[in-house]
Amino acid sequence: MSGSIVTFSNVSKTYHIGTVTVNALRGVSFTVAPGDYISIMGPSGCGKSTLLNLLGCLDRPSSGSYLLGGQDVSTMEDDALSAIRGARLGFVFQSYNLIQQLTVTENIEVPLYYQGWSEAECRAKARELAARVGLENRLDHKPFELSGGQQQRVAIARALVNDPLLILADEPTGNLDSISGADILRIFDDLNKQGKTIIMVTHDDDVSSRAGRAIRLRDGQIESDVRHRS
């Protein structure tokens, strides 16, 4: 088990909205090996977002355990979870979620800033990653001056800046045209080839087919877990 990055054991998540109880996840168990490229699919309301929030340590499971890189994060304090998010996880969102008043470089720096990197180190690392996603000429632009595809590339650079154990992507191509979308997916493919572990929530079968492994959720449970390639 020590080889796996993520170990979900019988994880459930229950929400209480007023008097209604929603069982968003019901006993989900799976493991993620290093270098995996997993797509998570399923109809809306099946628990995809909940699963991603739990994987991203933004939320804690109601029951069951979650080991991330050998550490049990399901019972951690809020501050410890923040530290884990900042040090071990990279997020790419559908709506990019860049901070509007910051420049490209500064947006990429944010995770390092919260880990206490010095300003010079932050700057150097952020420039390096901006160059890696092809934005070396846009360093001082604000997000609203960039196209959707460019913004998403900034978000990817930001997700990579802390050299994370796991990259979590929530429909990263959902807001993009097909050309930009393909562009972004190519970056993810490359990252996976370089050994990055990626979990991506998507609606799109084509996107899903690029991933080596597809998990399909239905009603808060895993319906299928298929590997396309060995």
Partner: protein, 454 residues
């Protein structure tokens, strides 16, 4: 396939190390604080107008308090200076016309000579019976016109003793005061007030010249120091401004004017007999002033049936002035507190709106590793920056306004060092106090909810 696994294991250990060092670096947070401050400044600069309007309450609060304090301080300083000029160790007795006599005279009953006021006996009695009294300084005042050929000024001719300047803290500017020899010889010499000089002697120096009072001529031997503007409530302004006083030896005054003063009025003559118009008692030490003043009151009460005198104790006036200033300061402090409270609430209101507006940013930052305290720090720094800047602008305006006032209106203003410092510190504190709640609200947001916020 075992290769990537090994790499992964290596990476895990390096990650743990990285996380540890990260925590250590977090402790050394001066650099981080500076970056947080810069970030806050940029956020506020992004909404310049809003930030400016937000801090306006603090600006006006701080500025008005400092300005009002400076003006009040200046006014009370002037009042206290005037009182101090009377000599805080002095007790001043003055003759006043008793009100019932005034009425009798108004009825036209003018055939007798009105007798009232402090007598030579009073002065001697005080000198002899009260311990701790140094000198009794008698003075006789006559209201007359003083002439230099065709120029004249309405002034109080004060017959007094040579040690008057020393006792009343009133120095001679040029020339000299008269001596005991002058007094004994009943010499026709005088010392005039500085304010009279430009009227009587606009060109030449007055010292050595003669002035005429009634049918007597006096040689000017000195000019007293000017004492500036005297307020209408000044206890020393029994007849016009203090500057309009001319001093002659008391014996000269007695010889020339006698004890009976005649004054023409419309259709009648008015005569009054006053031995001393004024007497000053100098007390040895400040601690004794209170007791001596009581004793003087007692002596005067026993020997005078009518209230034909008044007793002025400058020290009491000084204490009263200080008390008044204290009350003024308390009132001002309350106004300051209220205005800072209002300003603080204004800032809190805007910060709460800002937190709601930036919910998504908070969510992003939390997802990227910000702890609750990082979010608190970010918003608290912004609030303190707002209130601190407001305080700073307020201090600048508050120092500028008294400066302008004293230059345009000619009022004396004193900006004490502590008032801007205190005002600035308090306004920065207001930022902390009123920033905590919005910051806590920002930090307590659920990251998942915050990220979903539109």
């Amino acid at each position: 396939m075992s290769d990537p696994h090994n790499i992964q294991a290596d990476r895990e250990t390096t990650f743990l190390l990285a996380a540890e060092t990260a925590h250590r670096v977090r402790e050394i947070s001066v650099g981080r604080l500076i970056r947080t401050v810069r970030l806050g400044m940029r956020s506020l600069w992004l909404h310049r107008l809003r930030s400016l309007l937000t801090v306006l309450g603090i600006v006006f609060g701080v500025c008005s308090v400092i300005a009002m304090l400076a003006i009040g301080e200046g006014a009370s300083y002037e009042a206290q200076e005037q009182i101090k000029n009377l000599g805080s160790q002095n007790i001043i007795l003055r003759s006043i016309k008793p009100p019932e006599e005034q009425k009798a005279m108004d009825r036209g009953n003018q055939s007798f000579i009105l007798q009232y006021g402090i007598t030579y006996n009073d002065a001697q009695r005080i000198q002899a019976t009260i311990p701790g009294v140094t000198v009794v300084l008698p003075a006789r005042n006559v209201r007359e016109y003083v002439w230099n050929i065709s120029r004249s000024v309405d002034c109080e001719v004060v017959g007094t003793v040579p040690w008057y300047p020393e006792m009343r803290n009133h120095r001679v500017a040029t020339g000299r005061f008269f001596t005991k020899a002058d007094m004994d010889a009943r010499a026709p010499v005088c010392v005039i007030g500085a304010e009279m000089v430009p009227i009587l002697f606009p060109i030449e120096s007055p010292v050595g010249k003669d002035v005429r009072v009634g049918s007597y001529y006096y040689r000017v031997i000195g000019v007293m120091e000017g004492r500036g503007r005297i307020g209408s409530g000044s206890p020393d302004s029994s007849g016009g401004a203090e500057g309009h006083r001319m001093f002659i030896p008391i014996e000269t005054a007695r010889a020339n004017y006698g004890e009976v003063l005649m004054r023409r009025r419309t259709g009648s003559m008015e005569a009054e007999r006053v031995q001393l118009h004024e007497a000053t008692v100098k007390v040895h030490s400040l601690e004794q002033v209170q007791d001596v003043s009581e004793a003087v009151r007692e002596i005067m009460r026993r020997n005078h049936k009518k209230m034909d005198y008044e007793i002025i104790v400058p020290l009491e006036l000084l204490k009263r002035a200080e008390r008044t200033k204290q009350i003024f300061n308390i009132v001002l402090g309350s106004i300051a507190a209220i205005s800072l409270l209002v300003g603080g609430i204004g800032i809190m209101n805007i910060m709460l709106a800002s937190v709601t507006e930036r919910t998504r940013e908070i969510g992003i930052r939390r997802a990227l590793g910000a702890r609750r305290q990082d979010i608190i720090a970010q918003f608290l720094v912004e609030t303190v920056l707002l209130s601190g800047t407001g305080g700073l602008i307020g201090v600048l305006l508050g120092v500028l306004i008294p400066f302008i006032v004293s230059h345009t209106a000619g009022m004396k203003t004193i900006v004490t060092l502590w008032s801007p410092l205190l005002a600035f510190t308090i306004s920065a504190l207001v930022g902390v106090v009123f920033g905590i709640y919005p910051a806590m609200r920002a930090a307590s947001m659920d990251p998942v909810e915050a990220l979903r916020h539109e």
